[in-house]
């Protein structure tokens, strides 16, 4: 799968899973930090993203520490998906 395609799809899924109101995929830059930036997500969102990875890509993250290394921005998530997708 093309990385760019994956990122576009991922943005749509992030918006859907987190119910982001009034945010369109083009508003999320690939390196826009999930936490502490303008998206202003929190620890519960990071757990929602764990669910997204499992349900959409079949990737299971059981260790909260590992989750933190992945849920940084769209770039990190997309790369992790490509590396771990079954």
């Amino acid at each position: 799968m093309e990385l760019e395609d994956l990122k576009s799809r991922l943005k749509l899924q992030v918006i859907e899973y987190l119910n982001l109101i009034d945010i369109k995929p083009e508003d999320i830059k690939d390196d826009e930090p999930f936490f502490g930036g303008s998206l202003d997500l929190d620890s519960i969102d990071s757990l929602e993203l764990v669910v997204l990875l499992e349900r959409e890509y079949g990737i299971k993250i059981e260790n909260p520490q590992e989750g933190r290394k992945v849920m940084i921005d769209i770039n990190h998530m997309a790369e992790y998906i490509l590396a771990n997708k079954k």
Partner: protein, 395 residues
């Protein structure tokens, strides 16, 4: 107006009555183990503070026979309630007097019957036997109607501080003359709903929980119920008085839906308010029954709060290392353990703390017997930042 404890009853992972709970505490016997009676995908993954009885065995422990549609939560409530009113020697006339109130609490209530609720909510049946059982207030309604309680009745749900708030509100009803006698407590049972909820937050431990240890990695869910009979000094007469509810403090941490603030704002406010309400100073407190869930966040923040209030923390433990986290019932079960410490002059070892977070101020590491326990502080903190502390004293 003083608020005295004249009876109490309990069922938990370490025993089906007060006597059994006390002996388990004295023997440092935990009730946390692999689940035997409960069905979930997770029974082999996690440890639980399960009450070690089947539904049929539970039914035999209550004197009531009309148990159609009863959930485990209801049965726990009835068993502990019956023991409490028996110890306080309450007559039917006293139970049905309009100045006798009942304040219970539960988080999961009858939703413990997760699979039946799924069927009824999605119209897959014409009504399961638990159709009337789901609300968190149902066990209270059942207690009130079956025991003929005609005074004020209430159910509180502030997550894990629920029954501490029930005790607080009961004390307030007596203090301001709205009731002369209040039976307070709470009940919760292990359910798919709570296991999956706590699992989705990744705070369940795959080992026996280790409160206040650097190695802690989450909580164990527990279950059970506890009820305490509170009577006002106006009516108590020369009945045995096991303790006095001396003070209470309630606050909100106003920080995060499921985590406590690093500076322990709500936690220290609740403790501070309780000690002030009891007209005591921190140095009067002999022992703290901590909330001590063994999650990374709770134990760290609670210790920060305790250090703020006390400097050097008095003897403290987490009895969740015996029972697991019994959610709504935790506050009252831990208040009962505090009363048992007061009356047995014994402080119980906090289990599984091999590497204390505070090396020079660790939790109680072996039972302390023959010690005078005059004033106890009992902490309960819940999701949503709901913090409550109680001060319980020797009579």
């Amino acid at each position: 107006m003083k608020v005295f404890v004249t009876g109490f009853g309990i069922i938990s992972a370490i025993g089906n009555n007060v006597t059994k709970n006390l002996s388990s505490l004295i023997e440092n016997k935990t009730g946390i183990d692999k689940a035997r009676f409960f069905e979930s995908k997770f029974v082999d993954d996690f440890y639980f503070g399960e009450v070690k009885l089947s539904i049929d065995q539970l039914c035999e422990l209550t004197n009531h026979h009309d148990l159609h549609g009863f959930t485990k939560t209801d049965l726990f409530a009835f068993i502990a309630f019956e023991e409490a009113i028996k110890m306080a020697n309450l007559s039917q006339i006293e139970l049905s007097s309009v100045d006798t109130a009942l304040i219970s609490s539960s988080t999961v209530g009858g939703m413990a019957e997760t699979d039946d609720l799924y069927k009824d909510a999605n119209l897959l049946t014409t009504g399961t036997e638990h159709l009337y059982s789901y609300g968190s207030g149902v066990h209270t309604t059942r207690l009130a109607t079956q025991f003929g309680i005609l005074g004020f009745s209430d159910t509180i749900n502030t997550a894990c501080s629920s029954s501490a708030n029930a005790i607080m509100l009961g004390a307030k009803l007596i203090k301001y003359g709205k009731a002369k006698r209040v039976i307070v407590g709470g009940a919760d049972s292990i359910s798919k709903f709570t296991i999956n909820g706590f699992n989705s937050l990744q705070i369940l431990s795959k080992s026996k929980c280790q409160p206040f240890s650097n190695d802690r990695d989450g909580l164990n869910l527990g279950e059970g119920a506890g009820y305490i009979v509170l009577e006002s000094s106006e009516i108590v007469g020369d009945k045995p008085k096991y303790a006095e509810i001396l003070g209470y403090g309630n606050s909100n941490d106003a920080f995060h839906p499921t985590a406590l603030s690093e500076e322990a704002l709500g936690v220290s406010l609740a403790m501070d308010r309780a000690i002030n309400n009891a007209k005591l100073a921190p140095e009067n407190i002999d022992y703290v029954n901590a909330h001590g869930t063994a999650t990374g966040n709770n134990d760290q923040v609670e210790l920060i709060g305790l250090s703020k209030i006390f400097g050097t923390i008095p003897n403290y433990n987490s009895t969740k290392s015996y029972t697991g986290h019994t959610l709504a019932a935790a506050g009252v079960i831990e208040a009962i353990y505090s009363i048992l410490s007061i009356n047995s002059n014994t402080l119980f070892k906090s289990l599984n703390c091999s590497s204390p977070i505070l090396t020079d101020n660790p939790p109680i590491n072996k039972n302390i017997a023959n010690t005078n326990v005059n004033y106890v502080l009992s902490n309960s903190f819940g999701f949503g930042g709901n913090c409550t502390s109680l001060v319980i004293s020797k009579v």
